[in-house]
């Protein structure tokens, strides 16, 4: 017994076989191809303007400078004003945090009702709600603009939050409903017999075991809302514009020489928050999409 065990472990420690090498080499190659744009962006953002014009796209900066980053943050021109993108970065944060939290909470609540308190036609209701996932942004632009006008929310951050919450509910409801369906009904029955009511069951039993799907929703919604351009450009103006719109304005502002280092630094800043969210919560993403069975 012991001998065979040792032999088995020796097999797995054998030198890599040619097939393995091929797989690793291919993976490495593709990793390099996918990383190339990021490398170019990073390198360019640390170069001086002269360096960029004179040198090769892939070459290392002759001199590492942070001019591009500081200018993009504090003094680059986006359209007529030249205060960098820091204000817009804050706009985006102010928009994305409430929008993500509100849409996730509503989704959790909807999912709870649709999975555990079924009513006549609740499955049909859910199917219809799923259509919300497939409505293209362009279709709702005009009616939504009018609605926001009636509500007095036109060109405000609150208006943008409203749009994103409404648009996100279909997705978050779907996530939570499907997660809660996989949780045994007996759990809810047990709580009912223990005397717990509708809200107690939700807040004390189901919500505490929803962390994986909560994280999925947060990542999904954060990415979608932070990266959105169309709603941002249509439903906001001037001071309330989100980061994506500002980035576009910054890159398209055509006075003087094109400052690629500033553009690249601004683009990286715009992409950074979603990256951070993925790194922090990414492990839940895969787990949350596959998990759900609560044993015991």
């Amino acid at each position: 017994m012991n001998n065979t065990a040792i032999e088995n472990s020796n097999i797995s420690k054998k030198p890599l076989q040619p097939g393995r090498w091929l797989i690793y080499a291919t993976l490495l190659l593709f990793a390099l191809i996918y990383l190339m744009p990021l490398v170019v962006m990073l390198l360019t953002s640390f170069k001086t303007s002269a360096d960029i014009r004179g040198g090769n796209l892939m070459s290392l900066p002759t001199e590492w400078v942070f001019d591009g980053w500081s200018k993009a943050w504090g003094s680059a021109c986006t359209g007529v004003n030249c205060e960098g993108i820091k204000g817009y970065f804050c706009n985006s944060i102010q928009m994305v945090v409430p929008a993500v939290l509100i849409s996730t909470m509503i989704g959790a609540f909807n999912g709870y009702v649709l999975a555990k308190w079924k009513f006549r036609g609740s499955d049909l209701f859910f199917s219809l709600m799923l259509f919300g996932c497939f409505i293209p942004f362009q279709v709702i632009l005009l009616p939504m603009a009018q609605s926001l006008g009636y509500l007095g929310l036109a060109n405000t951050t609150a208006g943008l939050v409203t749009v994103h919450v409404i648009y996100g509910i279909a997705f978050t409801t779907m996530f939570f409903r499907n997660y809660y369906v996989s949780i045994p009904d007996e759990l809810v029955k047990a709580a009912k017999l223990d005397g717990a009511g509708f809200f107690t069951i939700f807040f004390r039993i189901l919500l505490p075991i929803s962390k994986p799907i909560f994280m999925v929703c947060v990542i999904w919604q954060f990415t979608a809302i932070w990266n959105d351009f169309l709603f941002g450009v249509v439903y906001s103006a001037g001071d309330t514009q989100p980061m994506t719109v500002a980035l576009n304005n910054l890159v398209n502002t055509s006075t003087g020489v094109k400052e690629y280092n500033v553009d690249m630094a601004a683009a990286i800043m715009a992409a950074l928050p979603t990256l951070v969210v993925y790194v922090l919560a990414g492990k839940y993403f895969v787990r949350g999409l596959t998990a759900g069975v609560v044993k015991g």
């Binding site: 759990l187 029955k189 017999l193 223990d194 717990a196 009511g197 039993i205 015991g296």
Partner: protein
């Protein structure tokens, strides 16, 4: 603790044509242990959920302690339930699981602590109180689930197949624990199972159900010895009762039925006088395997005992007994023989048929033929 009455309860789901429950009547006294048993899909879990208030009653009444609770919310019925999957709250520790119901009922924390301690001692789970359910074994989870039910001291406990997720050995242990618990606490318990051994060992009374109907309600002894029909007779007991079609005949010494072996030699089995009205007709003779044994000399004098030689087809040693299959009336018949007398396959053995507890069924209705003047204790539906 309380009594429970179920009056003509019916259940129809949505637009389904067939009723899931077709008018169930059950009444149990304070402190009784009632077992609902039947094959899957017989409606026993539905009935239990209706007692708990988790499902609507389509028609009929449910009374707990003589109070109509048919349309009362589950939390106001003062009932606790142990689920097949245990349904422990996965985010809470064992302690929190047990005290959840008490907290919701706004019991003072001091009393809660005392109650948790009492229950934990009772079930010997005090050392597990700070663990999460996922850190427990199946048997421990089972105990916690029972603890959660016990902590509220409800009027009625409901057990929904609580032991079916445990392995065989643990199931037998927990079965004994449940029985001890009932003896110690004297609580009213309704227990659903599809395991007829659990039903026999635990119950004060057994309700055998099939296709939404209550076939028989009685003590384990009644259900075992005087089954209402062939289904109950076949469902309770393992190996199952032998059903042998035979004709009722008569000679000088009285009524008898006949078993014929493969060589055509017949054994006359004495039959009770009440079969007189079936004279000359076919009946189904029900003999349990333990009523067909090897030859026991001291019993041979009994009037109701017959013996005959039969060829052995199969032997199945179980330890305490050997189950022997023989051929009689062109049917396979199981007999229970002492291991001392284990026959070899093909051998012709002398068997003894004890007809004292034989039961007879009408071949058309499949109902048990009852002695004419005895009250019908068996029929409940």
């Amino acid at each position: 603790m309380a009594n429970l009455q179920i009056n003509q309860v019916r259940k129809t789901y949505g637009k389904a044509e067939l009723e899931t429950l077709k008018g169930i009547d059950i009444s149990i006294d304070d402190g009784e242990f009632l077992i609902l048993v039947g094959p899957s899909g017989c409606g026993k879990s539905t009935l239990m959920n209706m007692i708990a208030g988790l499902e609507e009653v389509s028609a009929g009444q449910i009374l707990i302690d003589n109070q109509d609770v048919t349309h009362v919310a589950p939390k106001d019925r003062d009932i606790a339930m142990v689920f097949q999957s245990y349904a422990l709250y996965p985010n809470m520790t064992v302690r929190q699981n047990i005290q959840f119901g008490l907290e919701i009922r706004k019991m003072p924390q001091q009393e809660i602590d005392a109650e948790v301690e009492r229950v934990a001692n009772l079930l010997q789970i005090d050392h597990l109180l700070d663990r999460k359910p996922s850190q427990l074994s199946g048997g421990q989870q089972q105990r916690v689930a029972m603890g959660r039910a016990l902590s509220r001291r409800p009027k009625i406990y409901l057990f929904d197949e609580p032991l079916s997720n445990l392995d065989a050995k643990l199931r037998v242990e927990m079965r004994t624990e449940v029985k001890k618990l009932h003896q110690r606490l004297g609580t009213t318990i309704v227990y659903v199972t599809h395991d007829q051994i659990e039903a026999m060992t635990l119950a004060d009374r057994i309700a055998v159900m099939k296709d939404g109907e209550l076939l028989q309600l009685g003590t384990p002894k009644e259900v075992y010895e005087t089954p209402a029909n062939t289904f109950v007779a076949g469902f309770i007991g393992s190996p199952a009762m032998n059903f042998i079609s035979c004709q009722v005949k008569k000679d000088d010494s009285g009524l008898y039925t006949e078993l014929t072996n493969l060589d055509g030699k017949a054994t006359r089995l004495p039959a009770p006088a009440y079969l007189n009205r079936y004279l000359g007709e076919q009946v189904i003779l029900g003999l349990r395997p333990e009523q067909i044994t090897h030859y026991i000399p001291h019993k041979a004098e009994d009037q109701m005992i017959a013996k005959g030689h039969y060829d052995v087809l199969v032997t199945e040693p179980t330890g305490p007994d050997v189950i022997v299959q023989v051929m009689a009336n062109k049917q396979e018949i199981s007999c229970r023989v002492d291991p001392e007398y284990t026959p070899t396959v093909g051998e012709s053995v002398e068997l003894m048929f004890d007809c004292n507890k034989a039961v007879y069924f009408d071949p058309h209705s499949e109902q048990r033929i009852q002695p004419e003047n005895s009250p019908s204790q068996a029929s409940a539906a």
